[in-house]
Amino acid sequence: MSAIAQTGKSGVKRQTDIILLRVIGYIFISLLAVICFIPFLLVVSSSLSQESSIVEKGYQLIPAVWSTEAYSMLFKYPEQMLRAYGVTIAVTAIGTLVGLFVTAMTAYVLQRKDFRWRNQFAFFFFFTTLFSGGLVPWYMLIVTYLDLKDKLIVLILPMLLNVFYIIVMKTFMSSIPEAITESAKIDGAGDFRIFVQLILPLSKPVLATIGLFIALAYWNDWYNALLFVSDEKLMPLQYYLYKMLGNMDGMRKAMIASGAVVTTNIPTESLKMAMTIVATGPILLAYPFIQRYFVQGLTLGAVKG
């Protein structure tokens, strides 16, 4: 187990302090774990509660009156939600693939010790994390000069690359022996080919980790949509949720746009929670499987960095 709490070396007398530590530890960690988990339970429960019971008694940990009416409504008029899913999936897939490839490619060149200008380029990239022009010029560039508003690419391009990820990959790749590159060059291979056929396969762990981080960022992005998207057909999932949560009007409009009749009674409170679950659902489902990779990647990064 742990280093500090090893028993046996000093006899029974020492047991009490370790027992005390363990008691405190279990209580403390359990409390934290519960606090982290309970809000999700609350949202699930609220989404499965009857609207009238919410209005009367509020959101409960266990529904006062069970009802799937919120989900029924969501799935009865699913058009907007499905479209939002489509947008998010497309953006995440394209963004992650392209972003990961370019990040890896850049990282590879930067760690090539025989590249004379690597430090200058590294500084070029790094400086962007120190100073920026601010929100306004960036916004005007994208909206006015590049005219990307309400186009799918605006959800992908602005957040494609991240200097931090380039650095992490560069660190990892520099541990790949130079001999591999050298001998490949002797065999006549070009730099790009070396990168694609030799380096990438050897970089699978860091590619997986960074890939997950990038994918998560894209999946959860709502900021770019908030700034640059007003077309209902182009709203990604989290932004769609944001609009629904914002006000009853937003929800009403979304439902009507999906086909509900104007006079339909909308269970606003439970619907908000149901929509939240639906927007987060895939992440929560995939979570147990991918959490391991995040922790591994972070641990490696922490040790190396």
């Binding site: 742990s2 280093a3 500090i4 090893q6 020492r14 302090d17 530590l21 363990r22 405190i24 530890g25 279990y26 960690i29 359990s30 934290l32 982290c36 988990f37 809000p39 999700f40 609350l42 949202v43 609220s46 919410i54 509020g58 959101y59 409960q60 370019v102 490619m105 850049t106 090539r112 590249f115 004379r116 120190l130 100073f131 022009g133 601010g134 306004v136 010029p137 916004y139 005007m140 560039l141 006015t144 690359l161 730099d191 709502w222 700034l227 989290q238 944001y242 949560l245 908000k272 939240t276 987060t280 992440i283 929560l284 959490q291 995040f294 922790v295 972070l298 641990t299 922490a302 040790v303």
Partner: protein
């Protein structure tokens, strides 16, 4: 074939340069080109003139920003919140890491880490929904519980004074899993022999934590804290915007520079003011990062950013 000179080297390594090209182009476009737009902070923007055609107005925008009292308020909020986040988050993460490493068994640790990491994966929009679920005056769980024990419900969304506490707790909640992994990795690297020696000398487990674990974590903490201090004027837009929204009542205690800039740009369309505040933040941020990095260098050269 050796080529000499700048262009000679470039030609010889054209593949490598081409491989760098996409990233270079990306950052020129999205990071360096916008820097030219800083001039907007010194201009009276109008639509016909665009960025370069609009007339200059000196430091009027800055004057407006400072004289309206906004500058002080958002700066203060941003800095104070970041200080609170740094302290609370790091203390909790270190404590969690220590307990996870020392006090609990392997399976419990894995299981609880899964729980702790959960908040990191959701977007701030979802967190906003959870907050609504908890804090809404009429149907929120908090008030349901208060009323159940006979107490008065609290109007969270209308009371600025609750929010510093709320936001600090929410920030801790969201980052606990992520941060504790960092410290856990550092603790794992501490040499066993020190603990064994201490135990032989009669130190109990708490003394061993206090005298060995914590001092060995100190380098990691210092670096993380100093780097966080370097970013003390950058607020987490996602958190503040989704928790507070456009609730003007709460701005006095929750508005940070980032949300202020955003609103000035998108809601009130005050381009000059927004650009001035943004420039102010960039300059302040740059200065503090340089200072923080200088401090880290003095402490431990290897860990400095540059």
């Amino acid at each position: 074939m050796m080529r000499r000179g700048f262009w000679g080297y470039a030609l010889q390594n054209k593949t490598l340069l081409l491989m760098l090209a996409p990233a270079v182009f990306f950052f020129i476009l999205f990071a360096y080109v916008p820097m030219a737009g800083i001039v907007l902070a010194f201009k009276q923007y109008n639509n016909t003139g665009g960025i370069f055609g609009s007339p200059w107005n000196g430091i009027s925008n800055f004057r407006f920003f400072f004289e309206s009292g906004n500058a002080w308020m958002v700066t203060r909020n941003t800095a104070l919140y970041n200080i609170a986040f740094i302290i609370v988050n790091n203390v909790l993460q270190i404590a969690a890491a220590i307990f996870l490493f020392e006090a609990v068994g392997k399976w419990f640790r894995k299981f609880s880490q899964t729980m702790l990491f959960l908040p990191y994966f959701i977007s701030w929009v979802v967190v906003g929904a959870i907050a609504y679920n908890l804090f809404n005056y009429d149907v929120g769980t908090l008030n349901v519980m208060l009323k159940a024990v006979g107490m008065q419900p609290v109007d969270i969304y209308n009371t600025p004074s609750y929010w510093p506490v709320i936001l600090v707790l929410v920030s801790a909640w969201k980052t606990l899993g992520y941060g504790s992994v960092m410290y856990l990795a550092a603790i794992t690297g501490i040499d066993n022999e020190m603990y064994e020696a201490a135990e032989i000398d009669g130190a109990n487990v708490f003394q061993r934590i206090w005298h060995i674990t914590l001092p060995n974590l100190f380098p990691t903490v210092i670096i993380l804290v100093l780097l966080a201090v370097g970013n003390i004027f950058r607020g987490d837009f996602g958190m503040f915007y989704n928790m507070v929204g456009n609730n003007g009542l709460l701005f006095s205690s929750t508005d940070v520079i980032d949300t202020f800039v955003f609103r000035s740009l998108t809601t009130s369309n005050e381009i000059g003011l927004s650009a001035a505040a943004g420039f102010y933040q960039s300059v302040l941020g740059f200065a503090t990062i340089l200072l923080a990095n200088y401090a880290v260098r003095k402490y431990d050269k290897d860990h400095a950013l540059f």
